[in-house]
């Protein structure tokens, strides 16, 4: 574990009619930067990046409910629920207003938060941000529908447990890695991947920097370019040679540099 995120803290956050003990890390002193991690990850994903940043800023990284050491919410939350959770977390730690640094799913939540609660977000600095549903090629769509149809038919016609086993096995052939690994979070995942932020992007007035790795296959650079076209106040930067995850590790020095530029630009205009 890296020095910046090794000392974890716990805070109780109330959201969607429940109180959750939320794990987070907090280092440095100064203007608050809130780090929101990607799907299947935890606050540790930002360790290499935070270690490359000065402690004259306050770095708060949080384990989303259901990830890392924070417990899963009782209900299947959607992205707006996660955004509301972040709002409550910001209020609880008195971070309002702050800059959101989001990776992948964290970027999706960041967009929703900036749209719904603009008063608590001064800017978005997003790395490989998700939020636009990708167009599935026709061949893959046909394959998915066919296999799904066969799986459902098998479940209806063949008695359990064999029918269920066949259905599960067929579903696994078309499922994404995230879906396969989601376990108890599968219900939330289904809600999250159907969330599309396209409609709200034009209303986000805060400055946004979008960073994408050229080799990112999870959130391809095309996603970022589409977002950039819709956002009224954004910069789009593509970093060659990085994928969805290496951008946070090997790419940390370049990200730290771009973050510094973002903060300077934001400081100059505010």
């Amino acid at each position: 574990m890296l020095a910046s995120v090794e000392r974890k803290k716990i805070v109780s956050v109330s959201c969607c009619n429940q109180v959750l003990p939320i794990v987070y890390s907090d280092c440095g002193e100064g203007f608050p930067l809130l780090y929101l991690h990607g799907w299947g990850q935890n606050l540790g994903a930002f360790g290499p990046l935070i270690d490359a940043l000065p402690l004259s800023l306050r770095h708060i990284a949080v384990d989303f409910p259901g990830f890392g050491d924070s417990p899963k919410p009782a209900e299947n939350w959607g992205v707006p629920d996660y955004a509301e959770f972040v709002h409550q977390f910001i209020k609880k730690l008195d971070l309002e207003p702050c800059i959101i640094i989001g990776h992948s799913f964290g970027g999706r939540v960041g967009f929703r938060l900036a749209h719904k609660r603009p008063e608590c977000v001064l800017g978005l600095f997003l790395i490989g941000a998700a939020g636009i549903r990708r167009k599935v090629p026709l061949r893959r769509r046909i394959r998915i529908k066919t296999i799904r149809g066969i799986a459902r038919a098998a479940a209806r016609c063949i008695p359990n447990p064999i029918g269920a086993k066949i259905k599960g096995s067929l579903y696994n052939r078309i499922a994404s890695r995230d879906y396969k690994e989601a376990g108890a979070m599968r219900g939330i995942l289904v809600k999250v991947i159907h969330d599309d932020v396209r409609d709200i992007l034009s209303s986000i007035q805060q400055p946004v920097t979008l960073l994408y790795g050229s080799d990112d296959s999870e959130t391809p650079p095309e996603t970022g370019r589409q977002m950039h076209d819709r956002l009224p106040n954004s910069d789009y930067i593509e970093l060659p040679g990085f994928d969805h995850y290496t951008i946070l590790t090997r790419g940390r020095h370049q990200i730290a540099h771009q973050l510094k530029n973002f903060l300077q630009k934001w400081n100059a205009t505010s």
Binding site: A52, L239, G241, G251, H253, Q254, H257, K260
Partner: protein
């Protein structure tokens, strides 16, 4: 400059040195950290046989060391002795109308990320100087003096920087007929225990200590396996090291000071490069010098010592006419707090970025690299102002 006005930087790495793999790690870190909005990077890998290759595959850690199959996919390139700052394709393929013209890759700045022989010792710097190319780092003289531990000590001793006494051995001194006499000569001048180092190597390769005459002979024989010159010095049994980096500028900038942590008396290659995650994955997961366990700006070291180390480093940088960025390593004897210059790295592992991130004010890696390229271009422009060819006086038309 490219169409997008990016500065083209060719990162040279690998090479015919025992520190080949360390150079690969440093280069991968450098290429990842360069600001891709300002710079276009051309990776140039020199394999252990000395052949030069380029290709985007050379930016990925999983491709090292390249297999013969991968090498076939890469492009063989060379630098020619013409006054052209460009890489030229070797053996261009045949097309419909005969051999295709060789592809050429103009380069704004060459960025050597070599360690050890042929890359850090002034060889490549001399060639780049010869063809009039802009390159990052020290020139051939500072690089070659820095590479030779004995010459570096002599040069810096003349600058009133304290060094340990040492004896330089040449391979001829260790021929079977002379080895005994050489050992006796050493022991007549220096008391045991002693430290034995290859004279022109870094990364702690071939370094060992000797408590007895027999161990001394074994150590010297071992060191000669790596180098044609060996240096023998008194061993400070109760000491710690302090390392500091200096960056060219007016005034010079000095980094944070590090004290490497070690398990044994001498810092080993394993401690330097394989400590953090390296044991399972070796060089595949090592972060080079950045892996080393260290105390940055150790608070238990007296401030006078820290200040002295910073002063000596700046003086040495100036005295050797260094350029770019250099790391100086010092030893402090706990008995009397005496500081001794240990060695200089004109192309330090990981470019000591971890020391600059902790400097006051901090200099992040990406900005450090941009600064090094800017300095290289400045130095190149300054050199171009020097008048090289005088008016014809003898061979007049």
């Amino acid at each position: 400059m490219t169409q997008q006005n990016k500065t083209i930087v060719a990162v040279l790495f690998g090479g015919r040195s025992t520190e080949h793999e360390i150079s690969v790690i440093t280069a991968l870190q450098v290429m990842d950290a360069f600001d891709s909005t300002q710079f276009e990077i051309i990776p140039v890998y020199v394999d252990a046989e000395g052949y030069w290759y380029t290709g985007e595959e050379l930016r990925r850690r999983e491709n090292f060391l390249p297999t013969p199959e991968l090498k076939k996919k890469l492009l063989r390139v060379q630098l020619t002795s013409d006054l052209e700052s460009e890489l030229v394709e070797v053996d261009p393929p045949k097309g419909w109308f005969g051999v295709k013209p060789a592809r050429r890759f103009p380069v704004d700045v060459f960025f050597p990320a070599f360690h050890g022989a042929y890359g850090e010792d002034g060889c490549i710097q001399g060639f780049l100087e010869f063809i009039g190319a802009a390159y990052m780092g020290s020139g051939p003289r500072a690089a070659s003096i820095g590479m030779n531990k004995h010459t570096a000590k002599q040069t810096l001793a003349a600058q009133k920087i304290p060094v340990l006494p040492g004896i330089l051995l040449d391979r001829r001194d260790w021929e079977p007929i002379r080895a005994d006499q050489t050992t006796q000569d050493i022991l007549a001048n220096l008391d045991l225990p002693l430290m034995v180092k290859p004279c022109n190597l870094g990364s702690s390769i071939g370094i060992s200590s000797a408590q007895t005459e027999e161990q001394l002979m074994i150590s010297i024989a071992g060191a000669f396996a790596f180098d044609y010159q060996v240096i023998v010095e008194p061993l400070l049994e109760d000491m710690y090291e302090l390392n500091v980096s200096v960056l060219e500028g007016d005034p010079y900038r000095v980094s944070a000071v590090e004290r490497p942590r070690r398990e044994k008396l001498l810092l080993t290659f394993e401690e330097k490069y394989l400590k953090n995650g390296g044991k399972k994955g070796g060089a595949k997961s090592s972060s080079g010098m950045a892996s080393l366990q260290r105390d940055i700006n150790p608070t238990d070291v007296p401030e006078e010592i820290m200040q002295k180390v910073r002063e000596f480093a700046q003086k040495a940088f100036s005295g050797l006419d260094c350029r770019g960025l250099v790391r100086f390593d010092f030893m402090v004897d706990r008995k009397d707090n005496e500081i001794y210059f240990n060695e200089i790295n004109t192309l330090p592992g990981s470019f000591s970025y971890y020391l600059w991130e902790a400097a006051d004010p901090p200099l992040p890696f990406t900005e450090l690299l941009a600064e090094l390229v800017r300095k290289a271009q400045e130095n190149w422009r300054d050199k171009k102002k020097i008048r090289r060819i005088t008016e014809r006086r003898i061979f007049k038309d």
